[in-house]
């Protein structure tokens, strides 16, 4: 296996006094879609935030395309080519849809054009001048994903993109992730819903109490359903 695009080793993270991540390690090769599974509070979101550099304090090693990023600030990490779609979506109320879409600056060439984003999410085109937070939950999620596709970032961190959405929109987001994969994007996805993850992911890491406790390929998932149910408590 060639050098992974993202390599996380012995990652520790803290929020104030509470120690949230305990030596997390994972690797993602270029072009892969990898899913982090785990219960609420297992440390999945914190792992994404730590990779992005927006937790209170972190230690260990996060190398992206061979370069150490653990000491960099989040804006430098973003400019290296990583983009985050946060769990709470982060749509700005004081910006309209167009401004939200154009907010993240282009960090590299090769992002999608605005026209291509509208082809993926036609709803956004119709709501272009609505206030960002007036959109429906599904439209807000499309906007949150759409705006990071423009930037040219090659590694996308998607935090529970299907949470609380209707099945038809979940399908649309699944289709989008598969399309992004064919275009060569690398994706680290956080999900609670492994049935959804199964339709898009190549591999899985399972987290519990701030640690990676298991790892499996998509092909093995049916054989491990019992174990996964136990991990996820469903």
């Amino acid at each position: 296996m060639s050098e992974p695009m993202l390599k996380v080793e012995q990652l520790e993270a803290w929020y104030g006094e509470s120690h949230v991540l305990h030596g997390v390690g994972l690797e993602i090769a270029e072009g892969e879609v990898v899913t982090l599974l785990g219960r609420n509070g297992a440390g999945k979101t914190t792992t994404l935030k730590s990779i992005m550099g927006i937790v209170g304090r972190r230690a260990g090693s996060v190398t992206f395309e061979g370069k150490e990023t653990i000491t960099r600030t989040s804006d430098a990490i973003a400019r290296a080519g990583i983009a985050l779609c946060p769990e709470e979506r982060g749509i700005f109320a004081s910006l309209d849809v167009e401004e939200n879409l154009l907010l993240p600056p282009q960090v590299r060439p090769g992002g999608l054009s605005v026209e291509q984003i509208f082809e993926l999410f036609p709803n956004l085109r119709e709501r272009l001048h609505s206030q960002g937070t007036k959109l429906s939950g599904g439209e807000q999620q499309m906007l949150a994903i759409g705006r990071i596709l423009r930037t040219g970032a090659r590694l996308l961190l998607l935090d529970e993109p299907t949470e609380g959405l209707a099945p038809v929109i979940i399908q649309q987001i699944g289709k989008t992730i598969r399309m992004l994969k064919t275009r060569g994007f690398t994706i680290l996805l956080v999900e609670q819903n492994f049935r959804f993850a199964q339709t898009v992911a190549d591999r899985y890491y399972v987290m519990e109490h701030g640690r990676i406790i298991d790892h499996m390929a998509n092909a093995d998932i049916e054989a491990n359903v019992g174990k996964l149910h136990e991990y996820l408590g469903v």
Partner: protein
């Protein structure tokens, strides 16, 4: 000459004019405060001192380097804005995670120091600053006499206020600013250098105060106390308009200047307190201010 509600029209119009002039300064100053508060979450109590510094820089430029009013309009905001950048980098940046009170105390202390230093070197009596030649005299509008310099102040204040509003509400730079006001962590994680934006925002807010100071120099005397007298009213204006609201700062700035002017005509005894009475009423009815997005 005619009368309105038993008041001679020229008395009414001249108080209206004074109201608009004061309103111009209220608007410029509360705009700077609003921009700073929105982005830094700091109540900039040294705003009055920075306004005074603008006037003094204009005075000193004229005295010692022969640079006239027109130069001062450009040079003073830049110089004073740079001192703002320095203050932000050295002091304010450490306070963002703390309670508002710390920023307020620090900037209040700075204001006292700055005013003390100027009083030490220039005395408290005030120094004259001439109206620039091109703006001497006035125009007779038929119903009143309009001094050219005062018309100029109102005009420039309107241009600067609405220019600032336009940049913040209608441009890409402004959308970055608004987004960073809402969620600085996420905006930074998109690759935007938010700390630099914050520094420049403070510098800009301070430069606005200095610009107001230059414009005030020919109208009021240049004195170390000039900012302290004005800033109390300006804070009332900001509270009425709503902390952090750009349009609120502009509209209430001009509006309250006019209200104050009219009060001088109809009920002079109340003219010094009317703004504070309005503030109390607004706080009772709409605690977030007239234009505030209540939190």
């Amino acid at each position: 000459m005619f009368e309105i509600f038993g008041i001679p029209s020229n008395a009414l119009f001249s108080q209206l004019l004074i109201g608009l002039i004061n309103g111009s300064f209220y608007a410029l100053l509360s705009l700077g405060l609003a921009v700073i508060f929105g982005m830094l979450n700091i109540i900039n109590f040294s705003h009055g001192a920075q306004y005074m510094m603008g006037a003094f820089v204009a005075y000193l430029l004229l005295q010692y380097s022969g640079l006239n009013y027109w130069w001062a309009l450009i040079v003073a905001p830049i110089l004073v804005g740079l001192t703002g950048v320095l203050i932000e980098r050295l002091l304010l940046q450490w306070l963002y995670k703390l309670d508002h009170l710390y920023g307020l105390l620090l900037t209040f202390g700075l204001a006292l120091i700055i005013e003390g230093v100027f009083r030490n070197y220039f005395g408290a009596s005030g120094l004259p600053y001439q109206v620039p030649d091109a703006l001497r005299g006035g125009t007779n509008l038929g119903f009143m006499f309009l001094p050219n310099y005062r018309a100029w102040v109102i005009f420039i204040s309107l241009v600067v206020c609405f220019g600032t509003w336009f940049v913040i509400e209608r441009t890409k730079l402004g959308s970055n600013l608004r987004a960073a006001t809402e969620n600085p962590t996420l905006v930074r994680a998109f690759g935007i250098n938010v700390p630099r934006m914050i520094t420049l925002t403070y510098g800009f807010g301070v430069a606005l105060a200095a610009l107001a100071g230059v414009m005030a120099a020919p109208i009021y005397n240049v004195s170390p106390q000039m900012g302290a007298d004005l800033i109390i009213v300006v804070f009332a204006v900001v509270v009425i308009g709503g902390m952090g609201s750009i349009m609120g700062a502009i509209v209430t700035g001009f509006g309250l200047g006019v209200v104050e002017g009219l009060t001088k005509v109809f009920f002079p005894e109340a003219s010094n307190t009317v703004i504070f009475v309005i503030m109390a009423i607004v706080l009772l009815i709409r605690p977030a201010g007239l234009f505030g997005r209540g939190t």
